[in-house]
Amino acid sequence: MKKLDRKLLRDLARMKGQAVAIILVISAGVATFVMSMCAYASLASSQRTFYRDFRFADVFSSAKRCPDAILPRIEELSGVAAVESRLVYDAPLKVPEMTEPATARLISVPEFGESALNKVYISRGRMLEPLRTGEVVVSEVFADAHGFKSGDQVQAILNGRLQTLTIVGIALSPEYVIQVQPGSIVPDNKRFGVFWMSQRDLEAAFDMTGAFNSVSLKLSFGANVEQVIDELDRLLKPYGSIGAFARDEQISHQYLSEELAQLRNMAWMAPAIFLSVAAFLLNIVVARVISQQREQIAALKAFGYSNFEVGLHYLNMALVISLLGTILGTLLGFWMAANITQMYQRFYKFPLLEFQVDRLAVVSAFLLTTGSAVLGAWWSVRSAIQLPPAEAMRPEPPPSYQLTLLERLLPAGLLSAEFRMVVRNIARKPFKASLSVLGIAMAVAVMILGNFTLDAVSYMMDFQFRQAQRQDLTVSFIEPATSSVVYEVAHLPGVLDSETMRTVATRIHYQNRARRVGIMGLDSEPRLYRLLDRRERPVQIPAVGVMLNTKLAELLGVNLGDEVIVEVLEDKRPTVSVEVTAIIEEYAGVNAYMNKQHLHALLQESNVASGAFLKVDSNRIATVFNELETRPGVGSVAIKEAVIRSFRETVAENILVMRSFIMAFAAVIAIGVVYNSARISLSEQSRDLATMRVIGFTKQEVSTILLGEIALLTMAAIPLGWGIGYLLAAAMSSGLDTENYRIPLVVSRTTFALGAAVVIVATVCSGWIVQRRIHDLDLVAVLKTRE
């Protein structure tokens, strides 16, 4: 090994504390980057393979009852490569140990041969066998949630008749990679399952022989999706179609795409933060080393080492640190990605979801860290290159100090000598001090970013499920119910309050944009299902007009007072122009609302209800629920608490895993910046501090000068960090603004306090470590050192 390289390694070993702190900061950035990229690669490739091998459809539509005779006409549509028709029904399930309702989505598979599209992957057991009755294949997440295996039996109410179904296989489908019930925001694997049944069974149960109610299309390459959707709608309109949609509105696909987009976001955001902090740290550390080694640089140059060799030597110092950080970060990133992939395996079901190494990510991480290390160290290294050897022979001139503005403004006697030294030290290198403040502030900001999601989700839960929705049970009727049915339900023993609603499938058009959305008709002053504005104030439902939630208004580009075209997709299918009379705040889904009376008038119908919201005596929820289940006409019953619980279980777990990573990384930044700044201050001032000790200052007084600087910088950094953290949270909030859910920009006081706490703890720890070195100051050596 070259002697200059050996010197490099020994120099690094001497400053190992500082080097390790920087390595950790770099590895935090690299780990997040590699983790996101590998998780992205794993998820994206599993998705691609599953979609391709199991022929995930491009366009989906459903209708009430389409005759099979229409199929050839669909196949003839230009751009259509394959067509699969089937029967899809939701049916209440009776699961013995559950008081809460479960819904089975029954999907038909052809009696002979296999489906052309959205094929089923059998993970255990077998596929349905032809001509057998009562067999089902069940989705894996649902089977696992209940411990079902092949041979088990379940009971479902098919078209009002209780039937016993035998499970013969457990399966996955590209259509239900993540299994979210329509209208829900998170998967609830216990209460929603997908069941594949033979076409013959379903035709018999629902009296649909020779007909279908759901169709999926595979498009040929280059097909015009919009045009296919329009033509399909035109064909199916007479059969009660509620509108076709493409993959981007398919729920499972949407969730997967959003997760992938989030990983992409994280992949650039993390290196941006961590590597700029690391670049700054490398800058100050290398600068300090160079200034300490002036005479060594002089000797090297005097003996004929070129500027390039000397510069490279100090640049290598940064490069070794960044390389070690990259290696550690890559390994850490692999480990995190393996963990995340494992977590994904519980939500996203693929035949094969394996942790994949994204080689390109590793190469990119290496290039990114090397680039930032060179950038950070270059400004310091340049000074070593430019240092003329004759000048380097002489000791560094004493730094020039000036009276600070603070001292000029305040009366002379007010500031202690110690405080003056601290303030002048900071003022002498304002750029470095500002960057230190910024670095510490980033730690606060990352901490806020890590905790903000939990704040936002808590707020969202409270807003949606406590402030807005106050019902305990939500009942849906199979067919619109008359007032007598409603009366019965409302007067069940235990029901404290009730409210009805009417929902209808529509497509809302505005200019050239359109969106399939269900409009819900509500009372003008709902007590249970309330709509709120941004400030959580209840919004009165206007007598006329349609109300959109903010996301829907944004998607359509609609403002208050605009006229939209509402195309009803049920029954008489009227199309009317309606004014947007209110825009309301909701954090889940894209929804539209109307005054119930207005909706009835629009549909030219009497006072019927699609469902009801019930407030129930908390002791009698189970009784009321069981009573409702037995009533004919009741399609499904949702218990709000159960929804909240499953939301907590899935989302909170997901967030907690990420949060613990982020919190650890915030601590790494805080310690990295504070510890390095403190060490450098000590090194720059050790002569002065030792001199002060010689002339009679106590260790405490000397420590005050050293630690006062760090304390001041930290104090300045905290409010700045709060600000940056809030901005980052805002960026994340708008990055997570999807159709399924929005993350409101809510940062709690606790989160702000935690952000401050992490840097204060880091400051105290670093201060303590550095302060111990003051005790070791060699007072005699100081007096001997040459000028």
């Binding site: 010197k7 005479e295 003996f303």
Partner: protein, 241 residues
């Protein structure tokens, strides 16, 4: 110089060398028109008080600094017309430096400090042989912090001569040492001059040391105030100060 005189060839020829530093708002005249020649195998002492300009002169001869005006030749190379890269090559090939404060790399052992230089030289001595020349072979694996001041300076000398330089430039080599240690260091320098024939220039403010030299050039206030030749060179051991 002509080859038919008794003098060997001139290694350095400096003519009218002036150096002005700008120190803040003050202009410092470090050298005011110095002209001199240093000859092959010669042992020269540049004697002068602090601030006489002797360090500046040595730095210019060694290619560490460039004069404000005047010319300096090393053999056929005009140092004053050389680029930074050419000066680096010149220092790398031809010059050995010894500094008052040794300037050893504290993170490298004695041997490694020497090897730091032999690695970039074209025909170097073996590092251990170089240390043996200064009688420090047995301390080769000690770090600078484990060596006394005199030992450190001898390592610095070994480091300076390991590349077999044509010239050895020493800036107050005994300035930080006591008399006994200083003598050991000077003996090492003399031995190098004698055994390797290296042209040697030693800067000092100590007139006693001048007795060891072939020639003594006195500097004061940036000008040459006198040149004398010693008929007899006093051995380092016999010096007293």
């Amino acid at each position: 110089m002509n080859s038919d005189t008794t003098r060997p060839a001139a290694v350095f020829r400096a003519a009218g060398v002036t150096k002005i530093y700008q120190m803040g708002e003050v202009r410092v005249h470090a050298l005011r028109g110095v002209s001199l020649e240093l000859y092959e195998h010669e042992f020269v002492v540049l004697l002068g008080a602090s601030g006489s300009g002797k360090s500046t002169l040595l730095n210019i001869l060694g290619g560490l600094d460039v004069p404000t005006s005047g010319t300096v030749h090393y053999l056929d190379q005009e140092l004053t017309a050389s680029s930074d890269a050419e000066l680096t090559q010149y220092r790398r090939k031809s010059v050995g430096f010894v500094f008052q404060f040794y300037n050893l790399i504290p993170s490298l052992t004695a041997r490694e400090n020497v090897e730091l230089i032999t690695e970039i030289a074209s025909d170097p001595l073996n590092a251990l042989d170089a240390l043996d020349l200064v009688r420090l072979k047995e301390r080769a694996n000690h770090f600078p912090a484990q060596l006394s001041g005199g030992e450190q300076q001898r390592v610095a000398i070994a480091r300076a001569i390991a590349k077999r330089p044509r010239v050895l430039l020493c800036d107050e080599p005994t300035g930080a040492l006591d008399v006994q240690t200083g003598i050991v260091v000077l003996e090492a320098i003399v031995r190098i001059n004698r055994e390797l024939g290296t042209t040697t220039a030693v800067i000092t403010h100590n007139a006693a040391i001048a007795k060891m030299a072939h020639r003594v050039i006195s500097l004061s206030d940036g000008q040459i105030s006198g040149v004398r030749e010693n008929q007899v060179q006093v051995a380092a051991r016999e010096l007293e100060w």
